[in-house]
């Protein structure tokens, strides 16, 4: 406990490229980039699959694979590929060692939850509503935009929550392949033995704090979106029996 406090109160811990703000920034930055990339891939796909109902098997199988594969395994399986491709694609091999495996693993782990969340959210929309909308003459894209998406927003955000959680955890492990981020503190503290206890625990506390606060924020967003979509469909749809 004392070691943690002294590590946090040491000004040196907060400075430079290995300081807390720098590592925090690295961690958040790669998380955002990964989730954004995964969203660009998975969200449109999920919308199409969810709206048309075709390709459901793809969505479900992808979800199962994504949940089953260990993140650490993906990370190291990408490593030799990213190193080998460095001369061909023309990037610095050190990137192929640190950033690219971590980024790839994070994107691969973020896609299934977003895809499944979008698909499941759209599938859960009342079919009667959609039929009614079609009867009213709305085009497919209009139905998607004005009915399906607003009603499925909470579930879609739920998928994002899982994706973000996976991503933050994988970024932590990325430190093993020499990527920076908050995992660096945990590993470096471990290497220093007893002297590094403060760093080890401090890093763990920072990671846990980041994960919990982001998850709580997204949970709040989910609830807010749920309240809004509930109000939007508050008008009575079914005639009294």
């Amino acid at each position: 406990m004392n070691e943690v406090i002294s590590w946090f109160s040491d000004p040196a811990s907060w400075q430079g490229t290995a300081g807390i703000p720098a590592r925090l920034y690295e961690h958040i930055w790669i998380a955002i980039v990964s989730v954004a990339t995964a969203t660009i891939v998975a969200l449109p796909l999920g919308l199409v699959i969810g709206h048309t109902g075709r390709g459901a098997n793809l969505a479900i199988n992808l979800a199962n694979i994504g949940r089953a594969v260990p993140s650490y395994a993906i990370l190291v399986m990408v490593l030799p590929v990213s190193l080998a491709l460095a001369p061909t694609l023309g990037y610095d091999p050190s990137l192929g060692l640190t950033f690219i495996p971590t980024f790839t693993a994070m994107v691969l782990l973020a896609i299934p939850p977003i895809l499944v969340g979008t698909y499941a959210g759209l599938r859960a929309v009342d079919r009667d509503l959609i039929e009614a909308a079609r009867g009213m003459g709305l085009r497919e894209t209009q139905i998607l935009r004005s009915i399906e998406i607003p009603l499925s927003t909470p579930v879609i955000i739920g998928g994002f929550r899982t994706a973000v959680l996976n991503v933050i955890a994988t970024a932590t492990i990325g430190a093993v392949v020499a990527f920076g981020g908050l995992g660096r503190f945990i590993l470096d503290g471990r290497t220093k033995g007893i002297a590094g206890t403060g760093e080890l625990l401090g890093g763990a506390i920072l990671v846990a704090a980041l994960a919990i606060s982001v998850d709580l924020a997204l949970a709040g967003l989910q609830r807010y979106a749920g309240a809004r979509s509930a109000r939007a469909t508050a008008a009575p749809i079914h005639a009294p029996a």
């Binding site: 969505a59 479900i60 979800a63 199962n64 949940r67 089953a68 594969v69 260990p70 993140s71 650490y72 395994a73 993906i74 190291v76 399986m77 490593l79 030799p80 190193l83 080998a84 939850p113 499944v116 969340g117 698909y119 499941a120 599938r123 579930v155 739920g158 998928g159 899982t162 959680l165 933050i168 955890a169 932590t172 492990i173 430190a175 093993v176 392949v177 995992g183 945990i186 590993l187 503290g189 471990r190 206890t197 080890l200 625990l201 890093g203 763990a204 506390i205 990671v207 846990a208 994960a211 919990i212 998850d215």
Partner: protein, 219 residues
């Protein structure tokens, strides 16, 4: 980049040992976690008010990245099995608790009433009626918890351990710059996870011959 097949054939013993360790790192936390979550689920069925707090607590633990969780325990328990077992067990709790409760809740009220009418005691009702009917959903939870635990167990040895499982191949292979080793660890852990998933899918199908393919997908 070549795979050193000769190394693999020389070290089959060690490979088998690590795989066995990995199985222990998975099965023990799952068994304990299932027992705990079942007790919690039954409690939550009897006293619905505890469902929220239990979900919240297990949920918070689940949110903490595994490497951090292991790091928290290293100063306390060192590199013993406890450092690995405790987080691995607690990570299973959220999934198993939620699915066990869903399973118990899925028992139709009429069936419970019929059991009461037939004179079952509360204990008999639980053992003979509710639990058996809850099994399909509980197996679904076990499936997710198992593959999750296999993945988390690979991380268990990053900070160092004598009982590292397949993750130890990965970590050692990385520090030795020996692709054969870390790729072997990675591929074997993936295969193990897929195998476990397949086993549970089969179990799920055997346990629910009456449920149609109207599966709900949880993100």
């Amino acid at each position: 980049m070549e795979i050193d097949v000769a190394w693999i054939s020389r070290n089959l013993g060690q490979i088998g040992e690590r795989t066995w360790q990995h199985l222990i790192l998975t099965v023990v936390p799952l068994t304990i976690g299932f027992a705990i979550s079942l007790v919690l689920a039954i409690w939550a069925m009897r006293r619905p008010r505890v469902y929220g707090p239990i979900t919240a607590v297990t949920g918070i633990v689940y949110t903490i990245p595994s490497l951090a969780a292991f790091a928290f325990l290293v100063p306390i328990f060192g590199f013993s099995l406890l450092t690995a077992f405790i987080p691995l067990t607690t990570y299973t709790l959220l999934i198993l608790f939620r699915n066990n409760v869903d399973g118990l809740r899925s028992v139709p009220a009429e069936v419970i009433e019929a059991a009461e009418g037939m004179g079952y005691t509360r204990r008999e009702r639980l053992l003979r009626v509710e639990l058996p009917l809850a099994i399909p959903l509980m197996i679904a939870g076990l499936r997710l918890a198992t593959v999750t635990t296999i993945g988390l167990a690979t991380v268990a040895s990053i900070l160092g351990s004598a009982y590292g499982g397949l993750g130890q191949f990965i970590t050692e292979g990385l520090s030795q710059f020996f692709p054969t080793k870390y790729l072997l660890g990675a591929v074997l852990s993936v295969l193990l996870a897929f195998l476990a998933d397949y086993l549970f899918v089969t179990l799920e199908r055997r346990a629910t011959p009456w449920i149609e393919a109207a599966r709900t997908v949880r993100p």
